[in-house]
């Protein structure tokens, strides 16, 4: 059975300025033991998708569609069931995790908390033993259990957050910008760790990032979001090297290949800024910034269409290539 399945998920926030559609009909799948990357810029809806998987959206959000975790609809769960599912079946490593640790509590206590709450260990002593094991699993010396967060480096804190996410043996881990605040070297360490966990423990991993190249090295499949929609989705290598949506191509070009003469003294970006979800352009929401826009893009809101086996993109040009 598919570990995680999102079917036509939409999330709308009620705000003082009216409803803001943050996510508009997203469908995605993830099998156990594999990794899905979700790429997008601010306002693309990628973090809202992450929060929706565990129903962590604020009260102002209206969610429609289905979120199936091992076939069970998360949106229909009662609160008790939901509470059991969080941590034990699926857990989230949040963006800005470096500030999510309680500064006044020792690391060991914080890692032990989900262990005790979810009955993974009955005694303090048992929880302590598990904590040491978890710290070891993420490559930290067990003695760090008696340290306070301020005594740890950024990379170590991120590892602690991952240890907590693993505490109850979840089948699904969602990592929202897990490496954004980290240095390149530490980023590589954390990504290696996450990849190893998928491999060794057979968990499913969803990684969310604004950096397409980070996702490309870690993920089996990639979904690119723009203005609340998935605009391209497929195997990582295909999406990176044979991108079919002009937005995906722009995102890839934003981080140049070092050594590529075409990128030397030629930084590439897009004119304009990502649209505000409350005020989306008509037609294809990307058309005002699109270098390949044609007349029909101003009026036709193109949905995902097949581009290659297992690879789809939401662009009028894709249809032209397939049919013609």
């Amino acid at each position: 059975m598919t570990l995680l399945q999102l079917e036509d998920v939409s999330v709308t926030y009620r705000t003082a300025d009216g409803p803001v559609p943050a996510v508009r009909g997203v469908s995605l799948e993830l099998e156990a033991g594999s990794t899905l990357g979700i790429a997008g810029e601010s306002g693309s809806g990628k973090s809202t998708v992450a929060a929706t998987v565990l129903r962590l959206n604020p009260a102002s959000a209206t969610v429609t569609g289905r979120v199936l975790l091992d076939g069970e609809d998360v949106l229909g769960m009662n609160f008790g069931r939901l509470r059991a599912v969080r941590w034990a079946e699926a857990s989230i490593v949040f963006q800005g995790a470096l500030h999510s640790l309680n500064p006044l509590q020792k690391i060991g206590r914080q890692v032990a908390e989900p262990v005790l709450l979810h009955g993974q260990a009955d005694t303090r002593r048992g929880a302590d033993a598990m904590t040491r094991e978890l710290l070891g699993q993420v490559g930290l010396p067990p003695r760090l259990a008696s340290s306070y967060p301020h005594q740890l480096s950024g990379g170590q804190k991120q590892r602690v957050m991952i240890a907590m996410a693993l505490a109850c043996g979840p089948r699904l881990i969602i990592a929202d910008e897990p490496t954004t605040a980290l240095d390149v070297m530490v980023q590589a360490q954390v990504l290696d760790l996450l990849t190893a966990l998928v491999h060794d423990l057979g968990v499913g991993l969803v990684v969310i990032s604004h950096d397409l190249s980070v996702l490309g090295t870690t993920c089996d499949r990639l979904a690119v979001m723009y203005a609340g929609r998935v605009v391209e989705e497929g195997p990582s290598a295909d999406v990176l090297d044979r991108a079919r949506h002009p937005y995906t191509r722009a995102l890839s070009a934003a981080y140049p290949t070092i050594g590529d003469p075409a990128a030397r003294f030629a930084p590439r970006g897009l004119p304009g800024d990502p649209p505000w979800p409350g005020d989306l352009p008509a037609g294809c929401p990307f058309h005002p910034r699109c270098p390949e826009a044609v007349d029909v893009c101003r009026t036709e809101d193109v949905r995902l269409r097949p581009a290659a086996p297992g690879h789809q993109a939401a662009c009028v040009h894709v249809a032209a290539e397939v049919t013609g």
Binding site: S153, D183, V184, A254, Y255, T257, I258, G259, L270, D273
Partner: protein
């Protein structure tokens, strides 16, 4: 035409007193030059001292040894000299949201520097010029906007306009695009290149982003624990890195496909406790693999003293092993 570098560090060191009476040698002997119209990228991990070096070059920190030179003249640290200096060397910070006052309009944000420096003349014209330079046209349309009404890219343009309005010779940009959306990043980098071409501006970009260096920098200086460990023309340093640290840094960047990833264990060591010998030796993969021993330099790596890398435009690295290998090549 003055051929001296517009901004120079000569034997520069900056120390801080750390807890427990120890001294953190954040910058520990740096020679670096920034030529007119040149873009230099200063790269390294957090804690390597790159931001302290930039702050010292801006006159915001006093060096504990060595000098900052502007157009060949040593910087003096009295109020008047510093103020004049800051007109010539302007800072652009990482997070435009944090560096703009949310209660100031775009006009006030850009004009502030003119008022602080008591610049005579047509203030409004200067603000219009600066905003036009950064691509915010027609400038008048933005005058009364507040930062929250602008996008991230526009905010960073306003910050750059606020620096340009004083007609500086140098911009020091600390991670100028790291808080911006990927698709906007290229536009801001293109703007920096354009300002160099149009105004002959020199730019020192402080970043951990090697792709950014590849995009815009003429030269690159790689910093590790307070020292420049490798520097030279960007093509040479990034295509053919000599220092094991540069190689490791480059190999973990997802944008470089040709290198086998070398993930260094641990994090940059503590500037209050400099290792003896080459300061990179505790993490050096070449020393650990025995390559340094095979070349007969492992003793030097652990205990020898490396000279400060000179401020030259040539490609050079502070590494016993690469020096030994180059010696072998030239013999």
């Amino acid at each position: 035409m003055n051929s001296r570098p517009v901004l120079e560090a000569a034997g520069l060191s900056t120390s801080f007193r750390a807890r427990g009476g120890r001294v953190a040698r954040a910058v520990d002997g740096v020679d670096l030059e920034l030529g007119r119209g040149e873009i230099v990228a200063l790269v390294g991990e957090s804690g390597c001292g790159k931001t302290t070096l930039a702050r010292t070059l801006l006159g915001l920190e006093r060096p504990s040894a060595g000098q900052v030179l502007v157009g060949g003249v040593p910087l003096r640290y009295d109020g008047r000299a510093l103020k004049a200096f800051r007109r010539r060397v302007q800072l652009v910070l990482q997070d435009p949201t944090g560096s703009l006052n949310p209660r100031h309009t775009v006009y006030e944000a850009v004009a502030e520097g003119l008022r602080v420096h008591g610049v005579a003349g047509d203030e409004q014209q200067r603000v219009v010029d600066a905003l036009s330079r950064v691509g915010m046209r027609p400038a008048e349309r933005y005058f009364l906007r507040y930062p929250h009404e602008l996008s991230g890219g526009q905010r960073q343009r306003v910050v750059i306009a606020g620096a340009l309005v004083l007609e500086p010779e140098v911009l020091v940009a600390d991670e100028p695009v790291s808080s911006l959306d990927a698709s906007v990043r290229g536009e801001i980098l293109a703007l920096l290149l354009q300002l160099r071409d149009e105004l002959g501006l020199s730019v020192l970009v402080v970043t951990h982003d090697l792709g950014l260096a590849w995009n815009i920098a003429d030269r690159i200086a790689v910093m590790y624990l307070g020292r420049i460990v490798e520097s030279g023309p960007t093509e040479q340093v990034l295509a053919d890195p000599s220092h094991p640290y540069t190689r490791a840094l480059l190999s973990v960047v997802p944008e470089s496909h040709h290198l086998e990833p070398v993930v260094l264990a641990g994090e940059p060591p503590d500037p209050t406790r400099m290792p003896a010998g080459c300061r990179f030796h505790p993490r050096c993969p070449q020393l650990a693999s025995g390559e340094a021993a095979a070349a007969g330099v492992d003793g030097e790596c652990r205990a020898g003293s490396l000279p400060v890398l000179p401020a030259s435009k040539e490609h050079a690295a502070a590494c016993f092993l690469s020096a030994a290998r180059q010696g072998m090549l030239t013999d």
